[in-house]
Structure formats: structure tokens, C-alpha cells
Subunit: 159 residues, 2 copies
């Protein structure tokens, strides 16, 4: 996939200042073994997560995810786990991602013995969102649902 020179996110997008984006950038940097992102802007770091129509058209329909794509998937669920943790009053949220074949798999986040996030992954090699707004919205939905489940079944989360 060529990311081209044009970014899919404007540098002045107000969402870049959101808790989710801040956490997402932190997680992307944590997985950036080669310090590639050191001098990059936040918009540039997050830009590959936005799959515009043009970008999507460049990726084959069937394929195996490469390491860079996998690190984005991990960063995404790590960021979500971290945001859930902030609302968990001292409990630890642990992400776990499993790929079976050709980009199919399962991503879960557990707190104690409670599964607070449980997503079937499909076409991981094409992982991405229509827009920054869309990514933010999806992540927020997942976090909110997880916190709701946590509060409802806190006894299991404390096991």
C-alpha cells in the first residue's frame, strides 16, 4: 500500500486532541521499534489508519496482514484497553489478539475473568477506518460498552 504524500487526516482536525487519539499515538509510538515516527506529526502517524476509497482500492481483497498492519491493529486495541482501564478504578485491562488464517481472527480485552471487548476480526490486511471521525466513533462505542459491562459484572472483573 502506498500511503502517498497526501495525509488522510488534516493537521488541524480537532479530534486529534481527543483522549483516544492521544492514546492511539502513544501506542503507535510504543510499537515503533525503529523510531520512524519520532519527528512525525500526530496526523501523519495516524493517517495510515484511515483507509480512503483510493487507498482501499490498492489493497488486494484476500491477503495476509503484514507486520506494520498488525502493529496498527495492536495499537488500536491497546489504546482501547488503556482507555477502559482509566475508567476501571484500579483494575487491569489486558488485550489479546489472535489471527487464524488470511487475516481472520479474534481480538478480546479481559479484566479479571470478564471479557469486556470481544471482536471477530476479518480482512485484517485491510484494517482501517473511513475517516478519523469514524475511528474515534467506533473506539468510543467499544470503550463505552466495555465500561458498562464492567460496572454490571464487576465481581467477575475482580476475580
Amino acid at each position: 500500500m502506498s500511503t502517498g504524500l497526501a495525509l488522510a487526516i488534516e493537521d488541524d482536525n480537532p479530534l486529534l486532541a481527543s483522549d483516544f487519539c492521544a492514546e492511539m499515538v502513544k501506542q503507535m509510538r510504543a510499537l515503533d521499534t525503529y523510531d520512524m515516527y519520532e519527528k512525525w506529526s500526530v496526523a501523519r502517524i495516524l493517517s495510515p489508519l484511515v483507509l480512503t476509497k483510493e487507498r482501499k482500492a490498492e489493497i488486494p481483497v484476500i491477503g495476509d496482514p503484514d507486520d506494520i498492519t498488525m502493529s496498527r491493529v495492536k495499537a488500536y486495541y491497546n489504546a482501547i484497553a488503556s482507555l477502559i482501564e482509566k475508567q476501571s478504578e484500579g483494575l487491569m485491562a489486558v488485550p489479546m489478539i489472535n489471527l487464524s488464517h488470511e487475516g481472520f481472527g479474534r481480538a478480546i480485552i479481559t479484566i479479571g475473568k470478564l471479557v469486556v471487548v470481544d471482536k471477530t476480526l476479518r480482512d485484517v490486511h485491510r484494517f482501517g477506518f473511513k475517516s478519523l471521525e469514524n475511528m474515534h466513533e467506533e473506539a468510543t462505542k467499544i470503550v463505552d460498552a466495555a465500561v458498562e459491562r464492567l460496572n454490571k459484572y464487576r465481581e467477575v472483573a475482580e476475580l
Copy 2:
């Protein structure tokens, strides 16, 4: 690891007729892509899971698990999941194994949103048990604890 000619399990070990061993053999066969086990006795199929002192001494202390070892680990947790499922009154038990590096990782089994088994894996490249009795005992403990948790938090398992 050379398994040698001598089996670590006697062909007439009564435990070979247990539910766990029957399930374990079934799972080993399911992962046996090359039909290697087709004409093997049950004792011979399960023998590599018994790590006698002599066998253990042949395996380096630090290492990455190979595909054959990983398929044994998978068969073990698949067998446990299957036995739990038999006592779950219609719910599905799903195993998930994640290795991080050098044989460290986590094996979980979920039913609905309840984690019924949660094991930290260490030295997976040396996966095995002192004896067939030991493997049977460990597996039975895990199954019993899982079924107890399932019965206690059935509401979460039904999510």
C-alpha cells in the same frame, strides 16, 4: 527432541481409557495434517506429551516452540475446552492461545463473556508433563475449576 523408541506411556495404562485421554487423542488427530498418527496406538500418540527427565534434559532451557510442540499445546487446551463444553449445558467453550516471545504467553478458554480458564504459559518449547497421571490430574483440575466458575457466573457465560 528425539522421542526415541521407548514410549513414556505403557499401552495398558488404564488412564488411556479416560474421557480426557480420549478427547486428547481426538484433538491430536484433528491437528495431524499429514495423517502421521493414523496407525499409531493411543499410547504412542500421547507419549510425546510426557516429558521424562531424560527427555527434558535434551531440550534447551531457552527456545522458541516449534509447530509440533505448538500443536500439542493447542490439542491440550482444545481437549480441556471440549470437556468443559460437555458440562456446560449447551454453551460453547472457545480456546485462545497467544505466544508473545520465547515461549511465553497466555492460554484462555472463554464461554460467552466469562473467562473459565486463564493460564500463563512459560517455556512452551518444553511443554509436557511428568507422567500421564500428572497430565490427567492437571487437566481434570482445570476442567473442574472451570465448570465451578461457569455454574457460579452462568449469567456472564450466557452473554
